[in-house]
């Protein structure tokens, strides 16, 4: 039986910033359009700095979002403050939109628990970065269930990569979200590569969005390099969930222009031709062109933005460097609301040893 189901695909502007359809009414918001652009430029520069910090031993492994900046910028703006983000490790941009501070993101990748204990009360209920693949989809169903039980008009938004859609956790979560009609939105960053596994070897499904159909929820594709399209479709999905109509899967089709993480070298399994071709579709240039064309951006603003970004990033790095190290015993303090007795005993044992040695345990 042929797979005849057509999955909707949305693109609002093309590689050259040219409108591809009737643009939605919300487009008449120059401030929002500029914010998309500024956020994407910021995260690209911040990613570059993070890689340099990893290369000089100042933070650990880092996952750059190079080429996929549109997704985080769009999702971050589409969510409202009372929604909850359940992110994975390629969500720097989304987290920044939500209100996580840059130096906190550096702390996280520097292995410091305080990198997930954010100061901004606006993100108090957002989840920390999930590194195990697809488990965050289950967490998101839990969060969405809580919203239903409490009868709150809030939405759980979770993100994952293309590789995660092959995991049981992801498929089970889709199923649960469908049958319980949960207020959850699954945003898939299909960047074509699960570390070294290409999309073609990931699944025989024609699109990743098809996976939603078996769960009885809508699945659709958007041009993941078109921040306007992503914002439009994710906003729709969030509104739908908030209205009690259930979950949606939005597959953002994009391309990972960088390595999987700083511990990877994509040139070993990916051709330079493919990479060069993908650069032609990257998200920032097309939005800049669109803004230019509509008189919303000029060279002076660009230069001011670059100066601001450099300053903000340098300030964040400086703040990160100047953070006093946390106590070694803090390793126990961030997982449980109340530390179980056996860990309490271990914590005291560790603290006694540290006290006997003097200092914080960092040598």
């Amino acid at each position: 039986m042929p797979l005849t189901v057509q999955i909707p695909y949305t693109r609002l502007i093309d590689d050259h910033g040219q409108p591809q359809a009737d643009l939605p009414a919300w487009i008449d918001d120059p401030q929002l359009l500029r914010a998309f652009y500024q956020d994407m430029v910021l995260v690209r520069a911040f990613d570059q700095k993070c890689v340099a910090l990893q290369r000089t031993g100042q933070i650990g492994t880092y996952a750059s979002t190079l080429g996929q900046e549109a997704i985080g910028a769009a999702v971050g703006h589409a969510m409202t403050a009372e929604d909850v983000l359940i992110p994975y490790y390629r969500d720097t941009s989304t987290q920044l939109q939500r209100g996580v501070a840059m130096h906190e993101i550096l702390l996280y990748w520097g292995g410091d628990e305080r990198g997930s204990a954010w100061e901004n009360p606006a993100v108090a209920e957002d989840f920390p970065i999930c590194v195990p693949i697809a488990t965050q989809a289950c967490h998101a169903c839990g969060v969405a269930s809580a919203f239903r039980i409490r009868q709150q008009a809030r939405v759980a938004v979770t993100t994952c990569g293309d590789g995660a859609t092959s995991k049981g956790d992801f498929l089970e979560s889709l199923n649960l979200a469908g049958v319980w009609q949960l207020p959850v939105v699954f945003v898939v960053n299909n960047n074509q590569w699960a570390i070294s596994v290409p999309r073609s070897l990931q699944t025989a499904a024609p699109t990743l969005a098809h996976k939603a159909l078996a769960a009885g929820i809508p699945g659709e594709q958007v041009d993941g390099n078109d921040v306007l399209a992503v914002y439009d479709r994710v906003s729709q999905a969030i509104q739908r969930a908030r209205a009690g109509k259930g979950a949606t899967l939005v597959e953002c089709v994009t391309y990972r222009l960088g390595d999987h993480t700083t511990a990877d070298d994509a040139s070993r399994y990916r051709s330079a031709d493919e990479l060069n071709a993908a650069w032609k579709h990257e998200p920032i240039g097309r939005l800049q062109r669109f803004l230019h064309d509509h008189g919303l951006w000029d060279e002076q603003q660009e230069q001011q933005l670059q100066r601001d970004i450099t300053e903000r990033i340098n300030d964040a790095v400086e703040r990160f460097r100047n953070m006093p190290p946390s106590d070694t015993a803090a390793a126990f303090d961030y997982l449980y609301a109340e530390l179980p007795a056996q860990y309490q005993a271990q914590r005291e044992q560790l603290q006694a040893r540290l006290d006997a040695r003097g200092g914080t345990g960092h040598e």
Binding site: K49, R55, T56, G57, G60, T61, A263, M323, H362
Partner: protein, 372 residues
């Protein structure tokens, strides 16, 4: 000079090979300017500069392998923080005790010293057999893997050492002594035998020593046994077959004087003379060099007082006899000058107790001190 040390560039990667330098000593660099490309087990990585400054030194050449924590680049300027710059997050302002706290993210101390040698189990077994310390062998296999040939080469000594190879008797001596040293747990006990009761003419004690050892073996048979350290078993001997160490220019010979407990002194003297003659002529059959149950090293014919002679398994004891000398001793409450024969006994404590050894030595010395 501030030093930028090689950080962990992956997840737990301990080393990186320099591919290409993009700067050289004297260059002024900006923060995040590309310094060097290195290759880890996972990737070729471009390493940027952690700060602005003037390069004073690049450590290593393309192809060199650096370990995490080893210096990569030196910057001009004073060493501000004991040479550790990378990942030193510094101190919170106003908190003085933190200033002394070197907090590193990513950069671990050099792990070269803690890395176990990489070798397959069979190669490890060979190294144990050949007594080669793997930590001192540099592997020629992939990623420094130590091969069987590496171990064999190491056991043959360092290349370029041009000594004269030991041959025959000396070679055997070297091997036997090394094996004995590796296996035996030697303990030494010494005593002097006062020979004032001996006829004044008697100064060649070898036959008396043989008899005294035989008597001591009778009194304490525990020292006249064969011990198997692998099976941890002891085999007692009915007879005392005494190995007698004979020094020759070619090395050490230990011909065996059979059944010394039941032979007359004259018989023993003739037997010993024959053995020595055969050794000197190199005509002694191998069978005459095997099967000693206990050994005597009469180095007193040469020089020296006490010694710690080596027990050769499966024997468990060896007696050393030094030069007979005149010495002042306390004799019936008065100082007196007596001929004194110093005796050393080494025993293998795996098989023999200290008490057994002391009783053996007491019986030996008491027999020696008899006038005839």
């Amino acid at each position: 000079m501030k030093q930028f040390k090689l950080p962990d560039l992956g997840e737990g990667l301990q080393e990186a090979e320099i591919v290409e330098w993009h700067v050289q000593a004297g260059d002024e660099v900006e923060v995040d300017q590309l310094l060097v490309s290195v290759e880890t087990a996972k990737a070729i990585v471009d390493v940027p500069s952690p700060y602005a400054g003037v390069i004073s030194r690049c450590f290593g050449k393309p192809g060199d392998l650096l370990h995490v924590g080893e210096p990569l680049v030196g910057f001009e300027g004073e060493a501000e923080d004991s040479g550790t710059v990378v990942g030193n997050l510094g101190a919170a302002s106003g908190s003085s005790d933190l200033a002394a706290d070197d907090f590193h993210i990513g950069a671990a101390p050099s792990t070269r010293d803690f890395q176990p040698a990489r070798a397959a189990p069979a190669v490890r077994a060979l190294a144990r057999k050949l007594d080669v310390e793997l930590g001192r062998v540099s592997g020629s296999g992939p990623n420094g893997l130590i091969t069987e040939q590496d171990v064999r080469s190491a056991s043959e000594g360092p290349a370029g050492f041009e000594g004269t190879a030991l041959r025959s008797v000396r070679r055997t001596m070297a091997k036997n002594m090394a094996r004995a040293h590796a296996e035996v747990v030697p303990v030494m006990i010494v005593e002097d035998a006062d020979l004032h009761g001996w006829p004044t003419s008697a100064r060649d004690p070898i036959i008396r020593l043989a008899r005294a050892i035989a008597k001591a073996c009778l009194a304490e048979p525990a020292l006249n046994v064969a011990f198997d350290g692998r099976r941890l078993s002891i085999q007692t001997h009915d007879k005392v077959d005494l190995g007698v160490a004979v020094d020759t220019p070619d090395g050490l010979f230990v011909p065996v004087l059979r059944d010394v407990a039941s032979r007359e002194a004259e018989d023993l003297r003739e037997g010993l003379a024959r053995l020595r003659r055969d050794v000197a002529n190199r005509s002694i059959p191998p069978s005459e060099l095997m099967g000693a149950t206990i050994t005597l090293s009469n180095f007193g014919t040469l020089f020296g007082r006490y010694a710690s002679p080596v027990v050769v398994p499966p024997q468990v004891a060896i007696v050393g006899a030094g030069v007979i000398r005149d010495a002042v001793v306390a004799w019936q409450g008065e100082p007196a000058v007596h001929p004194i024969l110093p005796i050393s006994l080494t025993f293998d404590h795996r098989a023999v107790t200290g008490g057994e050894a002391a009783r053996f030595l007491k019986a030996l010395v008491e027999d020696l001190e008899r006038s005839s």
